[in-house]
């Protein structure tokens, strides 16, 4: 079996040296190039045609997110494995959208790293444990019906009983402008074009 050809991209030379030292003794992986900037990364991939790229997100000249998109677009068969300290769901989802094959945190053990490389090379996805946990968590927003603030519930009730904005404002001790803001929020949340539809939908959800 021919070894997996890997290019390492990270702006820390120390980390690059560490990774190389780690991967060198393995016969099924060979490091064919390293890069410390996005520009170097493009050049290295073009020259070496690797199977897998280990990509850091924080690069001095361009964001790793953009590098990932460009590489994935230009080399559809290349597997991009993100290697970073950023443990944020927004980064994970965005990078997967940009074509990354895996997401590994920098405190991964050597074993985990080699496993990640072989897995993505075999066409599978790979995520560090902490990242999987992050992805499995319920979304902060997954409501079956629109979530309303207390004030919005009050305003909804008053709209249903046919009050004008000014009447509501007087009743709630706020300005008519504020009432309008609440009304607009309600319309947006229910996706309703007008108050009539809003009342119908609210009734259907059992909010009245």
């Amino acid at each position: 079996m021919t070894p997996i050809r890997v290019v390492l991209v990270d702006d820390h030379r120390m980390l690059l040296a560490g990774l190389q030292m780690l991967l060198q003794p393995l016969d099924f992986i060979t490091v064919v190039g390293t890069a410390t900037t996005a520009a170097e990364a493009y050049a290295a991939v073009a020259a070496r045609q690797p199977d897998v790229v280990l990509l850091d997100i924080n690069l001095p000249d361009q964001s790793g997110v953009d590098v990932c998109r460009q590489l994935a677009h230009k080399y559809p068969r290349l597997k991009i494995l993100v290697l970073t300290t950023l443990q944020e769901k927004s980064y994970v989802t965005r990078l997967m959208q940009e074509g990354a094959a895996g997401y590994v945190l920098k405190n991964a053990s050597p074993e985990e790293l080699t496993e990640a490389i072989t897995r993505v090379h075999a066409g599978k996805k790979y995520f560090s444990d902490a990242i999987q946990e992050l992805l499995l968590q319920p979304e902060p927003t997954a409501p079956a019906r629109p979530v309303l603030t207390r004030r919005e519930r009050e305003v909804l009730g008053l709209i249903a009983s046919g009050l004008t904005s000014q009447e509501m404002a007087d009743k709630l001790f706020v300005s008519a402008l504020t009432v309008e803001t609440h009304r607009r929020n309600l319309l947006t949340k229910f996706g309703a074009p007008n108050t009539a539809v809003l009342i119908r939908l609210a009734a259907a959800y059992g909010l009245l």
């Binding site: 780690l22 920098k106 053990s109």
Partner: protein, 684 residues
């Protein structure tokens, strides 16, 4: 720390040089530089043969000016004698001049306290004299005193006050037509504005100085101005303009000793910018020679740093190492932390490039420690500078306000006079009207003062918040990029040595423990960095960042958090995004800390120019009337005020808490999506 450095970054001048010029002896028509021995001898002769006290005072002052460059102690002695003689002879001009001279000598010794008190005395005497007999000579003296007081203020970091002194001096000198002294004052004024990060203003005053002294023949005082102007051009990446200035400076640098090393240093920076390495090296070496002759060790350290970086760049590691280490030693000797830091960074890069990890790590750690102690002072200084800038603007506003009050007073007075005429017969009514007018006037005064104080408090808060955020952003990047990467590398090394099986069995558990501690440290570091400034907020904007934040809170507090957002693409202005994020962060922290909530709701809706934020919980609640706002809510209030929004806190014991913020966005706040807008599904 180890980002790949572009050439410009490496060769950037370490810090801006500041050369202030105090006024010395120029007013008596004597050269300030070291006088030839014959002049000194003839002056000493004149001192012994002078017939009147006034003559002896003049001679003593000339002697002190001649000695100033070589022997400040002897120079001070002569000034003291002049002081005593002036008092005895009631020679006011001599007295004021003596105090000025003493102050100048104190400035040369970097003794700011003495310089300040001498300046005040000189100013007092000169002002009294000027009231008695306003002569141009006294006016010129007062301008010189103001210049030196400006120097003192500069050294103390009171830049606004310094600018005020310089401007006062400049006004007087313009009226007198004294271009010679004016040139020095303009030079100092430019330096001031440069320190206040207003390069356009700085360049303006330096050019004024150049216009005054360009000659021919050019005035020797122009040399430091030329050099600062050259440095400014280099900092703004205009090497051609820098070259023009340097060419004009060359004859002056060759003619006089005083700034010759600075001339060659600036020349070297120019060659670095334009990529002439051998020329740059030669210029650096010349500059070093002159700096050593002059005994300017602090400048020597800067030159060594530049040279060391150049040699490193050219691959002469051994030479670079020697030079950088010398620079480090000098910098530490003079306790110049920014310089030490820059040198340590250069050394780290050098050793790293040479593959010597151990010294690289040592230098890196040293720098990191220093940075820790520096950050707080750097922040303080930054905020101070911001505050100084605001105060200057504030003063102008106060003046305007005072003017308006004056106009109002005049109007009121005029009206009152009319009243007087009309109601002269009705004395009682007049009295009543007068009292009423007075009360009204006082009321108006009080209102104006309150408004001013409020505005001042607001400006201070704004400056503080902005300074904090910039600093946090930098710190978070440093943590993530620098320390995070470093720890990850250490772990790699450790784990690979474990997997090679070179460990003693007894050491294995300890080793495992060390690795797990390392993991915990990395996790902690990530948490701290995210709290400081979330990367996602800068890269993807408010929507995704709030998503991450709510998820983290949900995980940490074991409370479901429901997030609703609308209209967040295109993105808001970055400053507003940061403030809103901080507000939500603080409110969520509050809920977690105090509320014991079962559910939290976060809602951010934006319709064109209007933004509505709600954070609501179903927890314990509190009585806002009796409990008051806690620290957390107060900081939210400050941020809301900064944004110009309206904050409303609704809460009752047992009824949960609802905080809402209504905000009109400035029209400029709607930015086109900077990078491909995050295609996050709208959260509904």
């Amino acid at each position: 720390m180890t980002r790949l450095f572009t050439l410009r970054e490496v060769l950037r001048p370490v810090r801006r040089n500041r050369w202030l010029a105090a006024l010395l002896g120029g007013l008596l028509g004597l050269p300030a530089a070291a006088a030839p021995a014959t002049t000194l001898d003839s002056l000493r002769h004149a001192w012994h043969t002078a017939s009147t006290d006034t003559d002896r005072v003049k001679t003593a002052l000339r002697l002190s000016a001649a000695l100033a460059a070589t022997d400040t102690a002897a120079a001070s002695q002569y000034v003291r004698r002049a002081l005593v003689l002036s008092r005895r002879a009631h020679y006011g001009y001599g007295l004021a001049y003596s105090w000025l001279q003493l102050g100048t000598l104190a400035l040369l010794r970097h003794d700011q306290a003495t310089a300040a008190s001498c300046g005040e005395r000189a100013q007092a005497v000169a002002a009294a004299e000027y009231r008695r007999a306003p002569t141009p000579r006294l006016r010129r003296l007062q301008a010189s005193i103001a210049n030196n007081q400006g120097n003192v203020a500069d050294f103390r970091g009171q830049y606004a006050a310094a600018a005020d002194y310089y401007l006062r001096a400049a006004n007087a000198l313009v009226a007198l037509g004294d271009t010679h002294t004016l040139l020095t004052v303009y030079g100092n004024l430019g330096t001031d504005f440069q320190v206040l990060s207003q390069p356009a203003q700085a360049a303006y005053y330096w050019r004024q100085a150049v216009a005054l002294g360009a000659g021919p023949p050019p005035a020797p005082e122009l040399l430091p101005v030329y050099l600062q102007l050259g440095n400014l051009h280099l900092a703004q990446a205009h090497p051609d303009s820098a070259w023009q200035v340097l060419r004009a400076a060359r004859p002056l640098a060759i003619a006089g000793q005083l700034y010759r090393s600075e001339y060659y240093g600036t020349l070297a920076q120019y060659y670095l910018h334009t990529g002439h390495w051998p020329d740059a090296r030669r210029a650096f070496q010349q500059a070093l020679t002159y700096a050593r002759q002059k005994g300017a060790s602090a400048y020597q350290a800067e030159l060594l740093l530049g040279l060391g970086q150049l040699e490193a760049r050219l691959g002469n590691a051994a030479q670079a190492r020697t030079q950088l280490q010398q620079s480090l030693a000098l910098g530490e000797h003079f306790a110049n932390p920014p310089h030490v830091l820059a040198t340590l960074d250069a050394l780290t890069r050098l050793e790293e490039a040479a593959g010597a990890w151990q010294p690289a790590l040592r230098y890196y750690q040293h720098a990191q420690r220093l940075r820790d102690t520096l950050t707080s002072t750097a922040v303080r200084r930054q905020v101070n500078q911001l505050a100084a800038r605001y105060q200057a603007r504030q003063q102008a506003q106060q003046l305007r306000a005072a003017h308006q009050t004056q106009v109002a007073q005049l109007l009121a007075l005029r009206r009152q006079r009319q009243l007087n005429a009309a109601y002269l017969a009705l004395l009682g009514l007049l009295l009543g009207g007068g009292a009423l007018g007075l009360a009204l006037l006082r009321h108006r005064h009080r209102l104006a003062r309150q408004a001013q104080e409020q505005e001042k408090a607001l400006l201070t808060t704004q400056a503080l918040l902005r300074g904090q955020d910039e600093e946090r952003r930098r710190l978070a990047r440093d943590l993530h990029d620098g320390l995070g990467g470093m720890l990850a590398t250490v772990k790699l090394y450790l784990s690979s040595s474990r997997s090679r099986g070179e460990l003693l069995p007894a050491a294995a558990p300890l080793f495992e423990q060390a690795i797990s501690h390392l993991d915990n440290s990395v996790a902690e570091l990530r948490r701290v960095a995210r709290n400081l400034m979330p990367e996602a907020l800068l890269t993807f904007g408010l929507g995704p960042a709030l998503h991450d934040l709510c998820q983290a809170v949900q995980q940490a507090g074991d409370v479901p958090v429901q997030l609703t957002t609308h209209g967040l693409t295109p993105r808001l202005a970055p400053a507003i995004e940061v403030e809103l994020y901080r507000i939500v962060q603080e409110l969520l922290n509050n809920v977690l800390r105090h509320a014991r909530a079962q559910q939290i709701l976060v809602q951010l809706m934006r319709y064109e120019g209007e933004l509505h934020l709600v954070v609501e919980d179903d927890g314990r609640g509190f009585d806002p009337l009796t409990a008051g706002l806690g620290v957390g809510l107060r900081s939210v209030q400050a941020r809301a005020q900064y944004l110009g929004g309206h904050l409303d806190v609704q809460s009752q014991p047992g009824q949960g808490t609802s905080v809402s913020l209504l905000l009109q966005l400035p029209t400029l706040a709607v930015f086109p999506a900077a990078e491909a807008a995050a295609p996050f599904a709208p959260s509904l």
